[in-house]
């Protein structure tokens, strides 16, 4: 993968990058900040890997080389080294200790430099502010705008234009979560009643998966999100479409589906812009059908998965806060058609 890693590191390479998938990997950076972190990581593994090999070699070497004192009976005869040997040993140990301290110091300095370069204030004037709020167990996303009518609310999916700085303003509704898109940036904790910030910039278009990185309860493992980096023109088109109200039902079946949605408990927690549904507890569903996944990255967004999720959310994601809402079987199909029409 990288020439400087060298042959001795082949094993660790295979272990770390061999099984990593590129859409969620810190070793395959897609942004400036992640690239700095990756460089630091490779430097660490090269240096510390070499030290490990040297230490192991020095441990193994004496096993195969006779020492002149080895013929003695260990407990019966005393072997005290000569004064010259003693001085030599002292010098070697002192040098090794000094080297260790220097190396640790250098690593700390390098870490701090990388941390400052990736986490510092990077206002460019043209940056995009995205508010991310951690919930048990999904992500609320709000694109800020000076014009309040152009503030966009969505969930579990962040689209970003390539080559533009993004400022994440992180918050939490309940417990401490951690926002982490390995391909783009390091982790940032989302803490209740505090705002934490993080900058990143995507260099190449692609889909990157993020994952909550701070244990936050039963469904911590099912708290993922997607970041879609796309060319600026595509991003603007996406934004314009997402700002639209939900399309009105176009046929009697979806019309019935909307009635089912508004007549059941769905409406207490979810919002669909353009309808009376304005719940603020669960994810905004205005353009649900345009999303990659449902239930915060738990399932691909297909009609079948959606049906399973509505019918029995507690089996798919036990402990999550979506209520088990009884929907009659003849109402389910129209409801699904309606939700599928929310492109």
């Amino acid at each position: 993968m990288k020439a400087r890693a060298g042959a001795p590191l082949l094993v660790s390479l295979l272990l770390t990058s061999g099984c990593a998938v590129s859409y969620q990997s810190g070793l395959d950076p897609a942004g400036t900040q992640a690239a700095r972190i990756t460089e630091l990581w490779w430097f660490f593994i090269a240096l510390l890997g070499s030290i490990f090999i040297i230490v192991m070699a020095m441990t193994v070497w004496p096993l195969f080389h006779r020492h002149r004192g080895i013929n003695q009976e260990p407990l019966e005869q005393r072997h005290s080294p000569s004064a010259a040997t003693e001085r030599k040993l002292t010098r070697v140990v002192a040098a090794a200790t000094g080297a260790t301290i220097l190396i640790l110091l250098a690593l700390i300095v390098l870490s701090v430099i990388t941390g400052r370069a990736t986490a510092g204030n990077q206002v460019t004037g043209n940056h995009l502010v995205v508010e991310v709020t951690g919930n048990q167990w999904w992500w609320a996303v709000r694109y800020m705008n000076d014009d309040p009518t152009r503030i966009l609310v969505t969930a579990n999916e962040i689209h970003v234009p390539v080559g533009r700085r993004i400022l994440i303003r992180g918050m939490s509704q309940d417990v401490i979560h951690s926002f982490w898109i390995p391909n783009l940036q390091g982790k940032r904790d989302l803490i209740p009643s505090r705002i934490t910030t993080e900058w990143f910039e995507a260099d190449k278009p692609g889909r990157y998966r993020g994952q909550c990185a701070e244990f936050c309860g039963l469904q911590h493992a099912h708290m993922a999100m997607w970041v879609v980096a796309e060319p600026p023109a595509e991003f603007e088109a996406w934004m314009a479409h997402q700002l639209d109200r939900a399309p009105a039902p176009s046929d009697p079946v979806t019309q019935r589906g909307q009635e089912v949605f508004l007549g059941h408990a769905c409406v207490l927690c979810h919002a669909i812009r353009g309808t009376p549904a304005a719940g603020q507890v669960g994810p905004d569903l205005t353009h649900l059908a345009s999303r990659i996944s449902i239930a915060a990255g738990t399932l691909p967004n297909t009609k079948g998965n959606l049906a399973g999720w509505i019918a029995d959310p507690q089996t798919i994601k036990p402990g999550n806060h979506m209520a088990t809402v009884p929907v009659d079987s003849e109402d389910m199909q129209p409801l699904l058609n309606y939700l599928e029409s929310l492109k």
Partner: protein
Amino acid sequence: MSSRSLSSATAAMCALALFACQPEKQQLRPAPAQVAVFGDAARESDIQPGGRESQPQVTNPFHGEADAISQGQRLFSWYNCTGCHANGGGAIGPPLIKMEWIYGEEPSNLFDTIVKGRPNGMPAWGGRIPEYQIWQLVAYIRSLNGLEPQSATPKRQDHIEATTETRP
């Protein structure tokens, strides 16, 4: 006490500590019966023509469950009960921490109030909120008044709650 009986007593204590106290099992998936919306509402009066009849007592399936009480608290704010009742102290709606109840303090009374609504502003939630969540709300509201077992009620609330003096 001899050292042998002391050590056997200690062993018994340890065994008790290990096995006797079981944490409350959190029921994540509501049983089918609890999902049904708007179950049979309770009778609001035990006076009826033809003399008294014993009728089955309506009980809250979540009575005394700490997890249900905290779920109820979450729902109380999510479903905007706080919009009228504040955190139980009352605002444009009546307070829920009190000694006198307009429509009764029994779980069945509270269940009916939520399901059917009441005159002068209480909305009818029946058919909107799943039945198991209504029972969780009932457990929470009763816990504010010390009507749920103390072992299941949070000892220290962030919100106001009835003091021991006002508790019946």
